[in-house]
C-alpha cells in the first residue's frame, strides 16, 4: 500500500471540492476502498474522509422517506419502519456481506462499490475496468460473471444488493457536487460498459450521494427481494431478484422488476414488467414474467446455469411479493 494523505472533511461541500482533485478517493466506511488499496489496484494520493460527518446517517420515513448516505447497512436492515415500508431494501441490506461489514458499510458506499470480478481485483491483470485493453473474463473463468450485455466491453456484475432494491423502488438521489447540488433518478445512475468499462456509474469526480429518497409506497404496495448464494455465510450472490409494485383491484400496477448479479448494472427487466403490468397475479403469470426476464440472456462459457437460477429466483420473488 502506498502512503497517502488523509483529509477529514469538515462538510460534505468541502469533501466534494477536495474529492474533485485527481488521484483522490472518497472514504465513508472504507470497506471497499481499503480492500482495493491492499490489493494494489488503487493507490490514491489523497483520501477524503466523510465517515465522521454528522447528520448523514439519519433515516426519516417521510413521505418521501430519506435515508442519509452514511447510514450503515445494519441500521437499514434493523429499522422497523424500513422493514415495514420497504421490506425489499431491508432484506437486501440484511443479507449483504457479514455482520461486521454491515456495521461499517454505508448505503452510499454500497451503491458505489467497485465490482468483485477477480480479474479486476488482481493486480496481475490489466483489464478494461482498470483502463487496459482486454476483458479476461469473457473467455476465461467466468462462472460468476454477467449473463446480459455480454457483448459489451466488460462482463463483470454489479455487486451492490441495496442498489437492486433501490432501483426496484425507483429511488431518487440527492447529490452534492463541487459547485452545488443536484438530483438524479437512480435509473440514470448506473452505466453499461458500452463505451467505457472503467466506471460503474455517472457520478463525476467530487460528486457525492448525500441522501437516498424513496417514494411513498402506494396503497396496495408489494415488494420482495431474494438472492441465491452458494454459501449461507459470507458469500456474494449468484443472482438476486427484486420486485416492487402495487396491486389495485386485483391487478398489478407499475411493476418494477430488477435482477442483480447478472449484468454490469442492476438489471431492470422491462420485459418482465410488461408481462406483469395490468394483469392478475397467478403462478402462470409469474412463470411467464420470469421467462421473459431471461429471454434475452446471453451467458458466457461457464455460466449458463445462472440464466436458470435467475429465472427461478425471479419466479420465487414474484410469488413472495404477490402470492
Amino acid at each position: 500500500m502506498k502512503n497517502f494523505v488523509l483529509l477529514p472533511a469538515r462538510s460534505l461541500e468541502e469533501a466534494a471540492r477536495a474529492a474533485a482533485r485527481p488521484d483522490t478517493e472518497l472514504k465513508a466506511g472504507g470497506v471497499d476502498l481499503i480492500d482495493r488499496m491492499k490489493e494494489g489496484i488503487d493507490a490514491p494520493e489523497r483520501i477524503v474522509s466523510i465517515a465522521h460527518l454528522p447528520g448523514l446517517n439519519q433515516i426519516q420515513m417521510g413521505p418521501p422517506a430519506k435515508i442519509g448516505a452514511l447510514t450503515t447497512l445494519a441500521a437499514i436492515a434493523h429499522h422497523a419502519d424500513v422493514q415495514k415500508a420497504y421490506p425489499a431494501l431491508a432484506a437486501a441490506a440484511e443479507g449483504a456481506a457479514t455482520p461486521q461489514i454491515r456495521n461499517m458499510a454505508t448505503l452510499g458506499g454500497n451503491i458505489c462499490q467497485r465490482p468483485r470480478c477477480w480479474y479486476y481485483r488482481l493486480s496481475e491483470f490489466d483489464c478494461r475496468k482498470k483502463g487496459g485493453n482486454d476483458c479476461y473474463a469473457k473467455n476465461g473463468e467466468n462462472r460468476f460473471h454477467a449473463i446480459f450485455d455480454t457483448d459489451l466491453l466488460c462482463v463483470c456484475v454489479h455487486p451492490s444488493a441495496t442498489a437492486v432494491a433501490l432501483v426496484a423502488y425507483g429511488a431518487d438521489l440527492e447529490i452534492v457536487t463541487p459547485s452545488g447540488r443536484k438530483k438524479m433518478s437512480i435509473d440514470d445512475l448506473f452505466v453499461r460498459p458500452a463505451k467505457d468499462a472503467t466506471e460503474e456509474n455517472r457520478l463525476k469526480a467530487g460528486e457525492i450521494i448525500q441522501t437516498v429518497v424513496l417514494p411513498a409506497p402506494a396503497s396496495g404496495s408489494r415488494s420482495a427481494y431474494r438472492k441465491l448464494k452458494e454459501k449461507e455465510s459470507f458469500d456474494w450472490p449468484l443472482v438476486e431478484a427484486c420486485v416492487a409494485a402495487s396491486v389495485e383491484g386485483g391487478r398489478i400496477r407499475e411493476p418494477r422488476v430488477v435482477l442483480g448479479h447478472v449484468a454490469a448494472v442492476p438489471w431492470r427487466s422491462k420485459e418482465a414488467e410488461a408481462v406483469l403490468a395490468g394483469r392478475s397475479p397467478s403462478q402462470e403469470l409469474f412463470r411467464k414474467a420470469a421467462d421473459a426476464a431471461v429471454a434475452g440472456a446471453k451467458p458466457l462459457t461457464q455460466n449458463a446455469f445462472k440464466v436458470r437460477l435467475a429465472r427461478v429466483t425471479l419466479e420465487r420473488t414474484l410469488r413472495d411479493a404477490f402470492a
Binding site: 480479474y119 479476461y136 476465461g140 454459501k231 455465510s233
Partner: protein, 764 residues
C-alpha cells in the same frame, strides 16, 4: 520384556491376549479401569489464554530490533531466470538484507515460486522494496490444466527426467524416483492383488464411472512462517509448525549448523493440516536474512502467498470399475487415477479402495500429472477424501444395480467388525430404513437425501520420542515433552495422561511443550501425535511413581515391589501401618523430588491388529430448481481408540466434518488457463464453509482397546475428514436420483444431474 495378559477389543466385545511388554513400560490399561479424568470432557488448559488474546502465537512474536522479511515470487507460470539484480533493492529505504533464492539458469515452474527475498525495518518497506529487485525472465510455454497437460504436444513442466520440486523436506507423500515419465505424466504405480480380469468374469453386475475432484488448499488461519534470531552461532526460531524437531533438523542441515545450535519454539500455533512440517523455503530464508542483517527477522506469508505456494490437496480424475456377484460379494475392483499436484507427485488415491472393503481381485494404476501450478503436499488424510468419494459412489451404484440395500451391501463386504458396528449405529441414528419415504419434503422443490461413507486410518504413532515427568516434594508434577499443539488440544492431552497415571487433579500438573530444548516429541502428521505422546508420557509418569515407591520402600524397609499405589495412596497391601497419602509420600522425597524420562516403547506386534475405522452419515436438502445443497445433519461414528479427552476428540471430528463439507461443496483453487494465475487467492472467492453452512454434527465414539500401546491411543484428526465428502455426495445422489461425479458439488453440477435423471424419467 515380560509377557502380560491384556484385554483387547471394542465396546463390550473383549478378549484376553498375551502381549510382550517392554521393561520400563506399563501394560495397556485394562478396559475395566475407572479412570479419574481420562476420557471425560476436559476444557483446554490454554482455552482462557486463547479466548482472551493472551496466547502468543508464532506470528505474534516480537523481538528487539526485529526486521520484516518478504519473498519475491515469479509472476510467470514457467520461465528461466536469466538474471537477478539486487543492487537497487539494497538501496531502498529500510532494507537491511537481500538475497536471491533462485539462481540464474534455473527454471521457475509455477506463478508464485520463490525467486528472491529481503528484510527491512518495516513490513511496508519490505513490500515496497520487492519491486526494486530486478529479475530477467525468459518466459516459456506452460500448462495449468491437467487434461491439457496429458496431451502429447503439451508444454513440458519438467524438461528432463527426474526432478520434481518439493516445497519442503517435510512433505509426506513422495513419489518413487524410479517411476517412468512420459510428457507430463509419471507412472503408473501399479499394484495387483489376485486377478482382476478373472474377478470381473465372475461378476454378475459391474459398474464403472469417472470421478473428478478439485484442488483444495489448507487455509491454516495462521499463515506459514517463523521469526529467526541469531545469538553468535546459535539460532533460535519461533515457528508456526507441526513439527518443531523437523524444523530444527531442516534448519541445521540447510545452514550447516549442529542440531545442538538450533532451538525451535512453538508455544501456540494456528493450524497446519499437513502443510507445516520442515522449515520450508520461507523459514530457511528468514534465518539467512537474519544472519545477513545481524538482526532478528520475522517472515510470514500473506494469504495470497499461502494460497499459491504453501501446498494443497491434489486434484484427481479417477476411473473406477467394480464387480460383484448377485449375492452381493465384491469380486473385482479396478482404479486408474490421474492425480495432479502441480509440480509435485505422490498424488494417488488408492488406499481406501485397497483397505476398506474385502475384495480378492484389485488392480490399481496411479499416475501423477504435472502442471505449472503450486506443489501439493500432505493434506489431512492425503488421497483419502478423494478416494472415498469415488469408491463409495461406486459401492452405492453397484448395490443399486444388484438390487441390494447399500447398507446391507457394505455390511456384506466390510471385514472390520468395528466399522460394521459403526454402520449400524449411524444407520439407526439417521433412520436409514425410512429414507425413501422422507425424500419428499414440504417444499415441492426440495428433496431430502441420506447417504453415508466409510472412513479408515492406520495404527500410527511410534518410537522416536520421549518425555520427562518430575514430581516435586510439594506433590505437584511437571511434564516436559517437546510436542506442539496445533490447536488440537495436544497440550491438554499431555496433562490429562500425566494426571491420570499419577491420580492427581489436572491443576497440580504443569505442562511444558513446544520447545526443542525439551525431550523430543513427535511431529504432528499422520494422526500420530496422541498415539506417540500419550504412551510416552504415561511411561514417564509411571516410572516417576515407581521411584516414589522405591523411596517409600527404603523408608519402610520392604522390597519396592511390595509398595502399591491405589486411589491416591501408597501402601503395602495388608499392612495397616504402612500407608501414606500422595502428599505425605512426596514430602518424604529428597529435595530434588523425583524425575523420570521415558522413551516411547515399540508398538506391540502381538496386539489386536486392525485399521482405525469410522462411518459418517449425511442428510442433505437439495433444491431441484436451483441445484443448491444444504447439509442438514452429519452423524459421525468414529473409533478413536481409548479416548483421552472426549471434548477435544469431538472437536477434532467436528473440524474434520466441516473441512470435509467445505471440500464437498465449496472449495476450489481456480487457475486461469491463459495466464496461469490463480484467480481466487484469498478466502473470499476461494470459498470455505462458514458458521451458517455448518449443520448439526453428532459424534458417536466407539471405544476400542487395541493394546498397540500402553494407552490404547489412536489419532482422530485425519479419519474424521476421510468420509465426509463421500457421504454428502451419496446423500445428494439419493436426493435427486442421479449420480454427482464431481467435487465440489456446485449448483450447475446438481442441475445437470437433475436433468439427467429427468431425461431418464426418474425423480422430480
Amino acid at each position: 520384556m515380560t509377557k502380560q495378559k491384556v484385554r483387547t477389543g471394542f465396546a463390550d466385545q473383549l478378549e484376553t491376549r498375551e502381549i510382550e511388554i517392554a521393561t520400563g513400560d506399563p501394560a495397556p490399561w485394562d478396559p475395566s479401569r475407572k479412570f479419574s479424568i481420562l476420557g471425560s470432557r476436559v476444557t483446554r488448559l490454554d482455552g482462557p489464554a486463547k479466548v482472551s488474546g493472551q496466547a502468543r502465537y508464532a506470528i505474534d512474536t516480537r523481538r528487539q530490533g526485529m526486521l520484516y522479511g518478504r519473498i519475491l515470487r515469479s509472476p510467470h507460470p514457467a520461465a528461466v531466470v536469466k538474471e537477478i539484480d539486487l543492487t537497487a533493492a539494497r538501496k531502498m529505504p529500510g532494507v537491511r538484507a537481500v538475497l536471491a533464492i533462485a539462481k540464474p539458469g534455473e527454471s521457475v515452474r509455477f506463478a508464485g515460486q520463490e525467486v528472491a527475498a529481503l528484510a527491512a525495518e518495516t513490513a511496508e518497506q519490505a513490500s515496497d522494496a520487492l519491486s526494486a529487485i530486478r529479475v530477467a525472465y525468459e518466459p516459456k510455454a506452460f500448462v495449468v490444466d491437467p487434461q491439457r497437460a496429458r496431451e502429447e504436444n503439451a508444454p513440458l513442466v519438467f524438461e528432463s527426467q527426474g526432478g520434481q520440486t518439493k516445497s519442503t523436506g517435510g512433505d509426506l507423500p513422495s513419489a518413487s524416483k524410479a517411476l517412468p515419465r512420459k510428457g507430463n505424466v509419471q507412472g503408473p504405480r501399479k499394484t495387483d492383488t489376485g486377478d482382476v480380469e478373472k474377478g470381473f468374469a465372475k461378476a454378475d453386475a459391474t459398474v464403472e464411472g469417472t470421478y473428478v475432484t478439485q484442488v483444495q488448499t489448507h487455509v491454516s488461519l495462521e499463515t506459514h512462517g517463523l521469526t529467526a534470531e541469531w545469538n553468535g552461532d546459535e539460532l533460535k526460531v519461533w515457528a508456526s509448525t507441526q513439527s518443531i524437531f523437523d524444523v530444527r533438523n531442516e534448519l541445521a542441515e540447510s545452514l550447516g549448523l549442529d542440531k545442538s545450535k538450533v532451538e525451535v519454539v512453538t508455544e501456540y500455533m494456528g493450524g497446519g493440516f499437513g502443510s507445516k512440517f520442515g522449515a520450508r523455503v520461507e523459514g530457511v530464508t528468514a534465518a539467512k536474512l537474519a544472519k545477513e542483517a545481524g538482526a532478528p527477522v520475522k517472515l510470514f506469508l500473506d494469504r495470497k502467498e499461502e494460497q499459491l505456494a504453501s501446498g494443497n490437496r491434489p486434484s484427481s480424475i479417477q476411473w473406477i470399475k467394480a464387480g460383484a456377484t448377485k449375492d452381493g460379494k465384491l469380486v473385482a475392483l479396478h482404479l486408474v487415477v490421474h492425480g495432479n499436484g502441480g509440480t509435485n507427485g505422490g498424488t494417488g488415491t488408492s488406499r481406501p479402495l485397497k483397505n476398506i472393503y474385502a475384495c480378492d481381485n484389485v488392480r490399481v494404476e496411479e499416475y501423477d500429472v504435472f502442471t505449472n501450478a503450486g506443489p501439493s503436499c500432505a493434506m489431512r488424510a492425503p488421497g483419502h477424501p478423494q478416494g472415498v468419494f469415488a469408491l463409495e459412489a461406486t459401492m452405492d451404484e453397484l448395490a443399486h444395480k444388484l438390487g441390494i440395500d447399500p447398507l446391507e451391501f457394505r455390511l456384506k463386504n466390510d471385514p472390520s467388525e468395528v466399522r460394521r458396528k459403526q454402520f449400524e449405529i449411524g444407520a439407526e441414528r439417521v433412520a436409514w430404513k425410512t429414507r425413501e419415504e422422507r425424500r419428499q419434503t414440504k417444499d415441492p422443490s426440495v428433496r431430502r437425501g441420506v447417504g453415508f461413507a466409510a472412513a479408515l486410518w492406520y495404527n500410527t504413532g511410534g518410537t522416536g520420542n520421549s518425555a520427562t515427568v518430575r514430581i516435586h516434594k510439594d506433590g505437584s508434577a511437571e511434564v516436559i515433552h517437546g510436542v506442539q499443539d496445533l490447536g488440537t488440544g495436544a497440550r491438554t492431552m499431555v496433562g490429562i495422561v500425566t494426571a491420570e497415571e499419577l491420580e492427581l487433579p489436572l491443576e497440580r500438573v504443569t505442562v511444558r511443550i513446544g520447545d526443542t530444548r525439551m525431550p523430543e516429541g513427535p511431529g504432528s502428521g499422520g494422526s500420530c501425535t496422541t498415539p506417540s505422546s500419550a504412551p510416552t508420557i504415561r511411561a514417564a509418569a509411571w516410572q516417576a511413581k515407581q521411584k516414589i515407591a522405591e523411596h517409600l520402600a527404603k523408608n519402610w524397609s520392604v522390597p519396592p515391589e511390595q509398595v502399591a499405589f491405589m486411589k491416591g495412596e501408597f501402601s503395602v497391601p495388608g499392612d495397616p501401618k504402612r500407608h501414606v497419602s500422595w502428599s505425605e509420600a512426596c514430602a518424604q522425597l529428597p529435595a530434588e523430588g523425583v524425575s523420570a524420562t521415558a522413551s516411547r516403547a515399540e508398538n506391540h506386534a502381538d496386539a489386536w491388529k486392525r485399521f482405525t475405522s469410522g462411518a459418517q452419515f449425511a442428510e442433505v436438502d437439495v433444491d431441484l430448481d436451483t441445484g443448491l445443497v444444504r447439509v442438514k445433519r452429519i452423524v459421525a461414528v468414529h473409533d478413536c481408540g481409548l479416548v483421552v479427552n472426549a471434548l477435544t476428540t469431538e472437536s477434532q471430528i467436528q473440524g474434520g466434518v466441516i473441512q470435509g463439507l467445505s471440500y464437498a461443496l465449496y472449495e476450489d483453487r481456480i487457475l486461469d488457463k491463459t495466464s496461469g494465475h490463480m484467480v481466487n487467492p484469498n478466502v473470499e472467492q476461494y470459498k470455505i464453509a462458514g458458521a451458517l453452512d455448518v449443520p448439526l454434527i453428532e459424534t458417536v465414539l466407539v471405544p476400542v482397546y487395541d493394546g498397540v500401546n500402553n494407552t490404547h491411543s489412536v489419532g482422530i484428526g485425519e479419519p474424521a475428514t476421510v468420509p465426509t465428502a463421500g457421504a454428502i455426495a451419496n446423500a445428494v445422489s439419493h436426493a435427486i436420483g442421479a449420480r454427482v461425479r464431481r467435487l465440489p458439488i456446485t449448483p450447475e453440477a446438481v442441475l445437470e444431474a437433475v436433468d439427467e435423471a429427468r431425461a431418464r424419467g426418474g425423480v422430480a
